[in-house]
């Protein structure tokens, strides 16, 4: 029965990718989903359908150029338009971008090199606090008690320094990664996990407590306001002139910032994907994987393990550092709360759920977790809360939703559902949504018909 289903699905998959079919399917799918989202901008199914279709571009067997064009059209034209109709979608996509970059960074450390890092979010914090400190008024408040900023304190730097600080965030986080790595990489396996966990906490506590003797971080209250980059002059007006008729109403400045930050996150995430892909397919990537597979053999093959592990730490950290800066600017607020252990675990979840070591998998993992958390599970608990206020009863046991005690409030089941999804995934798909695959190099192998004979001869000689 299941086997039959599998073959049916398999032949369906083949049909989907035959000849012109994928072109027709992907374009119609995208057009249909765009139209649906456009006309019902509050509909979750519409948005999910749209995300699925956008993701399917990756799967369809179409020319890479066509993929690129479709992807660019979706990312650069379609998303801003539907985002302007429902700004929340841009927030979702922004977070997908941010967490995809984080997950890819962690994937280099955990997935490629096999070093379990449970304090990864610390590097994100380093980036965020870097811009939070220099992009706010904090430097003039070093001697003030938190929360007592005098009126009229100027900002230290102009907001456009933000772009420079993305670069600086990369460098500072990478250096932090090296500094952490040097003492920490002596320990292995479980011990490494514990030490990195400790490091994550150290950074968070530093942020929490560095409000005295000099007030660097404003303590638990966090730093705010943090500057955003200035809007590129005229772009918003141009956007409004061209797109108001399509969008229906002009976007405000605040909304346009959402569009801007969506683009920044998209750009950084794209860069991160690019860097990851290229490093993975080089002697560095091979050495990382070799270390993960068998460190002693890797060392015996001439791989300087310490150096390469440090490189993995630094590269992974740098992605988080860049996104930390972006996050600080987009939120205009940074506090230690955002960098808890649970955040590190959250990013790790994306890596494992998506497929440890798999670049498309990790990106998909980030997208799925963000959409689940921000949208699907919210929607589910909203639905359950509504049930609770209605007169309906739980079927079979005939118990009125209304009479459910507060402790069993179904709205609290979000995390439970998320946990269940994780458990089911780990049981039925332990390698992740898109399992990691090795690159096929030997292009001619299939074309050599006597490959088997060759082995035979060699064995017989």
């Amino acid at each position: 029965m299941i086997a039959k289903l599998k073959t049916t699905l398999g032949s369906l998959g083949e049909w989907i990718n035959r000849g012109k079919v994928p072109y027709i399917l992907s374009i119609t799918g995208l057009v249909l989903s765009t139209v649906w989202v456009y006309f019902s901008p509050r509909s979750l199914p519409a948005f999910l359908f749209f995300l699925a279709m956008a993701g399917m571009i990756y799967y369809f067997k179409i020319k890479p150029v066509a993929k690129l064009i479709l992807g660019l059209v979706v990312a650069l034209i379609v998303v801003p338009i539907i985002g302007a109709r429902n700004i929340f979608y841009l927030e979702v996509l922004f977070q997908i971008g941010v967490f995809a970059a984080l997950a890819l960074g962690l994937n280099i450390v955990v997935g490629f090199t096999g070093l379990l890092n449970l304090g990864y979010v610390a590097f994100y914090a380093v980036g965020a606090y870097l811009w939070a400190f220099f992009g706010s008024k904090q430097i003039f408040l070093l001697h003030e008690i938190p929360g007592t900023a005098p009126q009229g304190t100027p900002f230290l730097l102009p907001g456009d320094m933000f772009y420079l600080f993305i670069m600086l965030g990369i460098i500072v986080a990478a250096v932090t990664g090296l500094l952490l790595g040097l003492p920490v990489l002596r320990v292995r396996g479980d011990y490494l996990a514990i030490v990195t966990l400790g490091f994550g906490e150290v950074i968070r506590q530093l942020a929490n407590n560095l409000d005295k003797p000099l007030n660097f971080t404003n303590g638990p209250q966090g730093i705010t306001p943090i500057q955003k980059p200035t809007l590129p002059g005229g772009v918003m007006d141009a956007f409004n002139v061209i797109l108001t008729p399509i969008v229906g109403q002009p976007v405000t400045e605040g909304q346009f910032y959402n569009i801007l930050f969506y683009f920044i996150a998209l750009l950084v995430a794209a860069l991160v994907i690019f860097v990851t892909l290229r490093l993975d397919d080089s002697k560095i990537g091979r050495a990382w994987t070799a270390i993960r597979e068998d460190e002693m053999a890797a060392v015996a093959m001439g791989i300087p393990a310490v150096k390469l592990k440090l490189a993995a730490f630094a590269v992974g950290a740098s992605f988080a550092g860049a996104m930390g800066v972006v996050m600080a600017a987009s939120r205009t607020f940074v506090s230690p709360e955002s960098f808890t252990f649970m955040q590190s675990i959250g990013v790790l979840t994306m890596v494992i759920l998506g497929g440890i070591g798999s670049i498309p998998g990790v990106v998909l993992g980030a997208a799925v977790v963000v959409v689940l958390n921000l949208q699907v599970l919210q929607e589910v608990s909203l639905y359950l809360s509504q049930l609770r206020q209605s007169d309906s009863v739980i079927p079979i046991i005939n118990f009125a939703w209304k009479n459910l005690s507060n402790q069993l409030d179904p709205a609290k089941y979000q995390r439970l559902l998320f946990g269940l999804i994780l458990i089911l995934m780990m049981i039925y798909r332990p390698a992740g949504l898109i399992p990691a695959a090795r690159r096929k190099r030997e292009l001619k192998a299939a074309a050599v018909p006597d490959a088997d004979n060759g082995t035979q001869e060699a064995a017989d000689e």
Partner: protein
């Protein structure tokens, strides 16, 4: 002697109170095939590990090709053109066969991270060459068309061959083989011996091997060193070793030795 490739002088390696390798003196000549034999636990693999830098000996001196290697890291020693295989196969199981071999080239590839990011011409040419070389090595050790297979999916004999190919990929002058024919059937062992001879004859690579299978040892070695309890108890030509009383004692016990000699 100018054609000495490797010389160890009074190498001592202790683990706590246990002296695993005791004052080992070995001289390996360029282009030879030598063996180290000895009962289980005699310290052969530990000695290999001191040669490759995995263990740092407490005393003694190791000179390879004019370099003092004690204190160097394993990757630096590989860089000096020593390569090894492992007693229990240690391939990178979830990498492909070709990737495994390309990992062996690590020290010989000059590309940097920046080259990889920018896909410079140097990078692309080097990768292309590395790929071609890896394919060539794979075929040299007698495997065909399995380049994209995951290493762990290959049969045992194939995995042994990849280990040799991976070691050869680092362009060694000295190849250390740790029980290379363990677990092989007689046919496979024959093939392996032929392969090692070819490696020495075609590529001019000096081979030092640890082996238990006496057919292999006697069939291939030009010189044999015998270890027992961490010490060298004999060395010489195969024929000399075969007749050596101490060697027979070490393997079979004192009583048996007197019987055989008498």
């Amino acid at each position: 002697m100018s054609n000495v490739l490797l010389e160890t002088k009074k190498v001592v390696k202790r683990f706590g109170g246990l002296v695993a390798v005791n004052k080992m003196d070995v001289v390996i000549e360029q282009g030879s095939i030598c063996s180290i034999i000895g009962p289980n636990g005699a310290g052969k693999t530990t000695f290999f590990n001191t040669l490759t830098g995995i263990y740092k000996p407490e005393e003694g001196e190791i000179v390879f090709d004019g370099h003092h290697t004690i204190g160097l890291r394993p990757d630096q020693i590989t860089d000096l053109h020593i390569a090894r295989t492992f007693q229990n196969i240690r391939l990178f199981g979830s990498m492909t066969v070709l990737e495994n071999i390309m990992v062996g080239m690590h020290t010989r590839l000059k590309q940097s991270g920046v080259d990889a990011l920018l896909r410079t011409r140097k990078f692309r040419e080097e990768e292309k060459k590395a790929f071609a070389k890896a394919t060539e090595l794979m075929e040299y050790v007698g495997l065909h068309g399995v380049g994209d297979e995951l290493a762990r999916n290959l049969p045992y004999g194939g995995q042994r061959r990849i280990e040799v190919a991976r070691a050869l990929a680092s362009q060694p002058k000295l190849l250390l083989l740790d029980e290379p024919t363990a677990g092989m059937n007689p046919n496979e062992t024959e093939d392996a011996i032929r392969l090692f001879r070819r490696v020495r004859d075609d590529l001019g690579i000096t081979i030092l091997l640890i082996e238990h299978d006496m057919r292999v040892v006697m069939g291939i070695s030009e010189r044999i060193t015998v270890m027992d309890y961490g010490e060298k108890i004999a060395e010489g030509l195969p024929a000399e070793i075969r007749a050596n009383k101490r060697v027979i004692e070490a393997y079979l016990g004192r009583g048996a030795a007197t019987e055989i000699i008498a």
